[in-house]
């Protein structure tokens, strides 16, 4: 097609993008610009002025509390990403590929979503009576005489945050992968088997590469949600685990707008980099 044939079409339908532009400008571009701007404001104990300064940025990178929170966030994100993938991929493999009936695989996916019928906070808080010193897991293990002392590391530690987040976000990994696996033509797998490839080879050379777009979409979902988390770490770590999200909540609570903005900008940049890396792995435009 030449430009001449495309141009009139574009002119006629270009107004359709207007609501989207207004929406994104109001709720994304302007707030992000505001945060960037405020991060350079001058903060005193009881006041904030728009005099530009790098003080908040310097403070962020010179304080162990803040850089520590950054590394904790990255560490917990990587661990949760790994556990959701480790648990989610086999589940998706079963739901999307091994279950032959489409109805059954839909039913199984709906079952995965059932926990979402309760609110997010309830799901987080429900882990407390499970993991606590006198919680369900410790009681059961003690009744079974597997342990004699309750395991204290289960609650109000980094471990409890990881357990809680993995459970909550796992389904976001399962869904996209199961969708991609469900789209694989069964004849392709039979063809590979007919050519003499065993299950391992078929999995690594055919199934896994074809499911990769699902893995990337799932990983983006989980990453974006985990990186911005503050509620799970707040509720299950007993304030011991501070993520960038928790820092922002605390700073906003004490009206430290400049510091909250610095943290916000850093979090946004980290997320942007993570998404960019994932999109480099797979060309989603082509695969979906």
């Amino acid at each position: 097609m030449t430009d001449a044939t495309v141009a009139p079409k574009r002119r006629g339908s270009s107004w359709l993008i207007l609501p989207g532009i207004i929406w994104m400008a109001l709720f994304m571009v302007v707030p992000i610009l505001m945060i960037c701007y405020v991060s350079f404001w001058t903060q005193t104990t009881f006041n904030i002025s728009s005099t530009p300064t790098l003080a908040s940025w310097k403070q962020f990178f010179s304080s162990d509390t803040y850089t520590g929170a950054l590394w904790t966030t990255v560490r917990i994100w990587l661990i949760v990403l790994a556990t959701t993938f480790a648990i989610g991929y086999p589940t998706a493999l079963f739901v999307g590929l091994f279950v032959k009936s489409k109805t059954l695989s839909t039913v199984l996916l709906v079952i995965c979503v059932i926990p979402f019928w309760t609110s997010f906070l309830i799901r987080v808080l429900a882990w407390r009576p499970m993991l606590g010193k006198e919680g369900a897991i410790n009681i059961i293990l003690m009744k079974l005489h597997i342990i004699s002392q309750p395991i204290e590391v289960l609650l109000f530690t980094e471990l409890s945050v990881i357990i809680g987040m993995s459970q909550i976000y796992c389904v976001f990994m399962v869904g996209p992968i199961a969708f991609m696996l469900g789209r694989i033509d069964r004849n392709i797998i039979e063809a590979a088997r007919d050519l003499g490839a065993g299950f391992g080879r078929i999995f690594w050379k055919i199934i896994f590469p074809l499911s990769l777009p699902g893995v990337v979409v799932g990983a983006i979902f989980v990453s974006v949600m985990v990186l911005g988390e503050f509620a799970t770490s707040g509720a299950l770590s007993g304030r011991k685990v501070n993520l960038l999200g928790n820092i922002i909540v605390t700073q906003v609570g004490s009206l430290k707008w400049a510091m909250a903005s610095v943290t916000g900008v850093i979090l946004t940049v980290v997320m942007g980099m993570v998404i960019a890396v994932f999109l480099r792995i797979v060309d989603l435009k082509q695969e979906l």
Binding site: N187, D194, L195, R201
Partner: protein
């Protein structure tokens, strides 16, 4: 054909799905270096039979032999039988070369990298894909994808290749060309092809022999011209799509049908009394013309120009459509008036008659 020269033999294979018999004690044999086409309407069990031979399905009863060995319990990849899928089933994320090399690279036996490259390139050249090696399989045409599917199978050097409606996904023009290609490639490789198709022209054109399958049973097997000129049953005549079939009554050498009574010197034994006359054997004459043979009054509806012939459609009083084919090599076609009645006639000894009292 004897068992010794047969490359594969299917012996009394039965397969049911939920109480419905897809295959009913099928017996089938093919020789070395042969092109066998398997014709059947959809639901006749032809794909199931192919999948049983390939090893994707286990038969309920019966045995499958390949190169003199009982392979009934053997998994698909240990059989050494190639399978070309209806929709090609190419690996969508791999290039042409990697698709073709897949079996050599990841199959059961270890093949050196140099050997893999050599064999892959040789097969790619043979099917005419030279220069396309590094393209993705979504960047090539339907006919080229077909060749990749074939090359991917042939590179494993099977003695038998099963093709499940291999031309079904191609457009008519390409189908014609790929028919010749398939035959030529098979002759070069010297392997046996078992080609399943729902198209009677394809089955007749391609097979050294044709096997007709209906409702899980083989109802005729033979050379294409034998099957074409002497169908064994009304069902075969129907699948060949070249015959007008009339039901009636065969009694003591006389067939009574919508066209009157005709003496039948010779009839083929069948469960129903059916009179079959080929499309190109029927002539249409004006009402009132004197005919020596059978005469059937019918109304002209329409005609279809087919290039080398014209197909005329007539409708009888009881609503049955009779097709009359006129080969243009025999002269200019007759012109008919729409909605006018004509008299259809033919030479009685060109008809094939089936009946309970046939032999």
């Amino acid at each position: 054909m004897t068992t010794e020269t047969a490359i594969f033999r299917v012996d009394g294979v039965t397969k049911s799905y939920g109480g419905v018999k897809a295959l009913d004690s099928v017996m089938l044999e093919a020789g070395v270096n042969e092109y066998l086409s398997l014709l059947g309407p959809s639901g006749s069990g032809k794909t199931t039979l192919l999948r049983v031979i390939a090893g994707f399905e286990v038969p309920d009863a019966g045995r499958v032999y390949f190169q003199g060995r009982d392979i009934t319990g053997l998994p698909a990849h240990e059989r050494g039988i190639g399978f070309v899928f209806q929709n090609f089933a190419l690996f969508p994320h791999l290039t042409v070369r990697k698709n073709v090399a897949f079996g050599l690279m990841y199959g059961g036996e270890t093949v050196s990298a140099a050997e893999t490259d050599k064999r892959t390139q040789a097969v790619i050249d043979m099917v005419g894909l030279t220069g396309m090696e590094d393209r993705g399989v979504d960047q090539i045409s339907g006919g080229q994808r077909q060749r990749v599917a074939l090359a991917r199978t042939l590179v494993m050097q099977p003695k038998l290749v099963l093709l499940d409606e291999p031309l079904g996904a191609l457009d008519a023009n390409l189908r014609g060309r790929m028919r010749n290609e398939l035959r030529a490639i098979r002759e070069r490789m010297g392997v046996t092809f078992l080609h399943v198709t729902g198209s009677e022209t394809e089955a007749l054109a391609m097979g050294d022999s044709v096997v007709v399958l209906d409702r899980g049973r083989i109802i005729q097997a033979g050379k294409p011209d034998d099957v074409y000129s002497t169908p064994a049953s009304p069902a075969v005549a129907h699948f060949l799509n070249r015959f007008n079939l009339f039901s009636g009554k065969l009694s003591q050498g006389v067939f009574t049908g919508p066209f009157g009574t005709v003496a039948v010197p010779k009839a083929t034994r069948a469960a129903d009394d059916v009179y079959a006359i080929r499309y190109d054997r029927v002539r249409a004459q004006p009402i009132g013309a004197v005919t020596s043979g059978p005469a059937l009054k019918a109304t002209y509806i329409a005609s279809e120009y087919l290039g080398s012939s014209v197909m005329n459609f007539f409708e009888t009083a009881d609503g049955k459509v009779v097709e009359v084919e006129h080969h243009l090599s025999l002269g200019a076609p007759q012109t008919f008036e729409p909605r006018q009645d004509y008299l259809l006639t033919w030479t009685p000894d060109q008809a094939i008659v089936f009946g309970r009292e046939g032999k």
